[in-house]
């Protein structure tokens, strides 16, 4: 049996918008260098959980949590947490590609610049090149790094967003339906990329696409109405789920 | 340590931005204090009753009277004339561009209409005095060179864009399904427009009217140039009269030393004007936020 390191752990973790509960007492372990998929019907709290991990929901007025959410055994929601540092360690890729309205180069350079993570221009360039290579975009854009990011196709934009997240060397990458707005070919490329990335990163991905979850993930969690119904190795969830609701969902009887 | 530095910078920025934003509050306080201070001084010498009931305003003459009525009357009359023009034209245009023409044309027409609001008011004053009044003379031979009618009409044209664009915005905010509900009942375009769109947008439309009134009441140069600088308590719009704003200009043009009673009169007049427009602006603000909330 291979060794499993717990990277993220939720202990009785609940989340609220105003007084409305969005996550109910979730208990959950996410392992290092694995891909964990979160699936479930719309509005069940997948994004809420994901956005709790990098405290993106801090931006929302009246969002609150109870219980614990640990990253490397330290509570993300404790007072001393440096949110900036947390977000540096936990990167995020969104549903709709959201490059900055700047050049490809500047898109990736931004993270390095705000964290002062480069020595000189050569170093900056090298880091940008590496991350574009890592995101399997380098060959397509190496000749015009100064082109506007908006001139790329949707799939290329999404890989740019992945490169942008990778360049500051996060430990965890959160992906919220990263292929939902892409065509099948771009989707396939990104899936391939995600699988490659797990060698160096811990990945949590939210998806509505059951095949995608089955194809890429090692573990799957099924959420419903804010509760985590079932969590197991993906192979198990998709072949022999122990919960009736899970089975109904993945066989497409609802959701 | 690094965390702290970041947090401190954030706090300092936020503080600096807050100070900028609160400058606007100091401006309001400044206006109120300045007006109030001189107005109180003024009422130490002139009884409040006389200010509001006397029908003569002659602070610059030997025989001084301090009745604001002639100025108020002129302000109200010119505003009334301008609103007749601005509302009838502005609302018709708003309905037209909101309901009857293509969005692309609407996007072109709106900024062109706005030019009416960009023309400096001295220019309108010139136009009223030297073009519109002579024109009106052909219809009303006994109209004076300075009169309330001509600047009132011209001011109306200046206010058309305010009413047209604000009412158009309000009508655009009426959700599509409300219109479709009307059509589903077999109503035609006219019926949907008058029966559904205008009533639903009413608070926004009223807000535009009231803002228009506020603009008319505070407008200065058009009336100063074309209505004259002679306080005259009359309802005959063909006669010269002086508005509150025109009086302030008249005194400012002369060398009135600070501290004199004459000097204080412009603040008392200004206070009247401020209170009037303040009430109108606040009503307009709440009417506007009402329709914004409704269809969010």
């Amino acid at each position: 049996m291979e060794e499993k390191n717990i990277r993220i752990e939720a202990k009785n973790f609940s989340a609220y918008y105003n007084d409305k509960i969005a996550l109910k007492e979730v208990n959950f372990k996410i392992y290092s260098n694995k891909i964990t998929a979160i699936i479930g019907p719309s509005g069940c709290g997948k994004s809420t959980f994901l956005r709790s991990i990098n405290r993106m929901n801090d931006l929302i007025e009246n969002f609150s949590v109870t219980g614990e959410l640990l990253l490397d055994n330290k509570n993300i929601y404790e007072k001393e947490t440096d949110v900036i540092d947390l977000r540096k360690r936990v990167g995020m890729v969104f549903q709709k590609p959201n490059p900055f309205p700047k050049s490809i180069f500047e898109n990736i350079a931004y993270g390095l610049k705000i964290h002062k993570m480069y020595q000189n221009y050569d170093d900056l360039y090298m880091k940008i090149e590496n991350s574009l290579k890592e995101a399997a975009l380098w060959d397509e854009v190496k000749d015009d790094l100064n082109k506007s990011a908006f001139d790329l196709s949707g799939g290329q934009q999404q890989r740019l967003c992945i490169a942008r997240a990778l360049v500051i060397k996060p430990e965890v990458i959160l992906m919220d339906e990263p292929t939902a707005s892409l065509d099948p070919i771009s989707t396939a490329k990104i899936e391939e990329l995600i699988v490659k990335l797990k060698e160096h990163y811990t990945i949590v991905i939210v998806t509505h696409n059951m095949q995608q979850a089955a194809r890429v993930s090692d573990y799957s969690a099924f959420f419903m109405q804010g509760e985590m119904i079932e969590y197991d190795e993906t192979a198990k969830i998709f072949t022999a789920p122990s919960n009736k609701l899970t089975e109904e969902y993945i066989t497409g009887r609802f959701g | 340590m690094k965390i702290n530095k970041n947090k401190i910078i954030e706090k300092i920025t936020e503080g600096a931005l807050f100070i900028s934003a609160s400058l606007s509050i100091f401006v309001t306080i400044g206006i109120i204090i300045v007006l109030l201070f001189e107005t109180i001084e003024f009422f130490k010498e002139v009884p409040l009753i006389k200010f509001f009931t006397e029908k003569q305003w002659t602070p610059l003459f030997e025989d001084k009277h301090f009745g604001i009525l002639p100025l108020l009357n002129a302000t109200i009359l010119t505003s009334l004339i301008s609103m007749i023009v601005a509302i009838s034209f502005g609302l018709t245009i708003a309905v037209f561009i909101s309901e009857y023409i293509k969005p692309e044309k609407r996007m072109i027409l709106k900024p062109i209409m706005e030019i009416l609001a960009v023309v400096p008011t001295v220019v309108y004053g010139y136009f009223a005095l030297l073009f519109v009044t002579p024109l009106l003379q052909k219809i009303f031979p006994d109209i004076s060179t300075f009169n309330a009618l001509s600047p009132g009409i011209v001011m109306g044209f200046m206010i058309i864009p305010i009413i047209a664009t604000m009412s158009d915005d309000a009508m655009q905010a009426v959700p599509k399904w409300l219109r479709e509900g009307g059509y589903a009942l077999g109503a035609n375009k006219f019926q949907v427009t008058t029966g559904v769109v205008i009533p639903s947008a009413l608070s926004g439309i009223m807000a535009s009217f009231i803002l228009g009134v506020s603009r008319a009441v505070g407008e200065t140069m058009i009336v100063t140039i074309a209505a004259g600088q002679m306080p005259n308590f009359t309802f005959n719009v063909l006669e010269p009269m002086e508005t509150i704003t025109a009086y302030i200009v008249q005194v400012s043009l002369g060398d009135t030393p600070a501290g004199t009673l004459e000097f204080k009169t412009i603040f008392a007049a200004g206070m009247t004007l401020f209170v009037l427009t303040f009430v109108l602006n606040i009503i307009s603000y709440f009417l506007k936020s009402k329709y914004r909330e409704r269809y969010r």
Binding site: N54, L59, I84, D85, R87, K88, F94, N98, F100, P101, Y110, I114, H115, C161, I168 | E10, F18, A21, L23, S24, I25, G30, I31, V34, L35, F37, T92, F96, M113, L116, V119, P120, T121, V122, V123, Y124, G125, Y126, F127, L130, F131, F157, N188, F190, T193, G218, E219, T220, M221, I225, T245, I248, V249, S252, A258, L273, F274, T277, L280, I282
Partner: protein, 300 residues
């Protein structure tokens, strides 16, 4: 039956016909106005007019001190309203939490936008001219005008910031940027042309403002220029001019309109032509930037 049909027909065509009519009349008035001033004033538009001081003889009078004064006031006003207006807009849109303070600030700014400009003149007279002892100087004039048009800049800044999609901010925050970095490096550059359009719109309003400047006591007869900003001695720039008396184009026009002689009316018309050209140009610039901004925003 036929009669009823006719009534229906009239009714159903009321808005298209009346709307078109009202639009044409309004724009017609604008057109007539422009033709009228042009007809009255074009003969006075010459080099002498631009380079002469006012005079008792209409043919010798010009707008030199007026346009120089307008230039001074405009530049100074732009420098004043840009930082303060933009900072206020940023505070309200990006930093202020929903609540009483924000509501209060909003109502206050919306009210200030509707306060008659002549009231700002009274404020400027007491505060800048008398209390701060600036006298009827260019500085007092520019400060007063800045207060008049500040709400326009604040509102335009907020609208532009509002148009920047939340996803852009999220992308920045997700990379570990703090609020200040996000605002400076991502949000502001995206909103910039919209904000600039607002500032320019404010300028087009300021350039035509007459009443507040008359109220603070700007003179109608000025036969000298403010001390120029450039000198031959180190540091080659001087702010002495800020303390000088001034007049502006619209005041000069007002002065000439108020005189009975026809010759001065021609001068007024000529001044108006110049004033109109400048303010319409500035306004079109603002509209152009606005359209560019909207197009740019739609790409996202």
């Amino acid at each position: 039956m036929k009669e009823k049909k006719l009534i229906y027909k009239i009714r159903d065509n009321f808005f298209p016909v009346a709307g078109l009519f009202a639009t044409i009349i309004s724009l017609g008035v604008l057109f007539v106005l422009i033709i009228d001033v042009f007809k009255d004033g074009y003969l006075r538009l010459n080099w002498q007019f631009l380079t002469s001081y006012p005079s008792r003889i209409p043919e010798k009078a010009g707008i030199l001190s007026a346009w120089v004064g307008t230039l001074w006031i405009m530049v100074l006003t732009a420098f004043l309203i840009f930082p303060i207006g933009v900072a206020s807009g940023i505070y309200l849109e990006e930093y202020a939490k929903p609540g009483k303070i924000k509501d209060f600030l909003e109502i206050n700014i919306s009210n200030l936008a509707g306060v008659p400009s002549i009231i700002y003149g009274l404020l400027g007279l007491q505060i800048f001219v008398y209390s701060f002892k600036m006298d009827r100087s260019i500085l007092a004039g520019a400060l007063t005008l800045s207060l008049v048009v500040l709400p326009i800049v604040i509102v335009a800044t907020r609208e532009s910031l509002k148009a920047v999609p939340i996803s852009l901010r999220e992308a920045s925050f997700a990379l570990g940027a703090n609020k200040l970095q996000t605002v400076i490096f991502q949000v502001l550059p995206s909103a910039f042309s919209g904000i600039l359009s607002g500032v320019i719109l404010a300028m087009s309003r300021a350039i035509g403002e007459t009443a507040p400047l008359i109220t603070i006591g700007a003179l109608t007869y000025i036969a000298f220029l403010p001390t120029g900003p450039f000198t031959t001695e180190f540091p080659f720039i001087t702010f002495k001019g800020l303390r000088d008396f001034f007049t502006v184009l619209p005041i000069q026009v007002f002065n000439w309109v108020s005189r009975p002689q026809k010759g001065f009316h021609a001068n007024a018309a000529a001044g108006i032509i110049i004033l109109l050209i400048i303010s319409l140009f500035i306004n079109f610039l603002a509209i152009y930037l606005r359209i560019k901004f909207e197009k740019y925003m739609r790409r996202k």
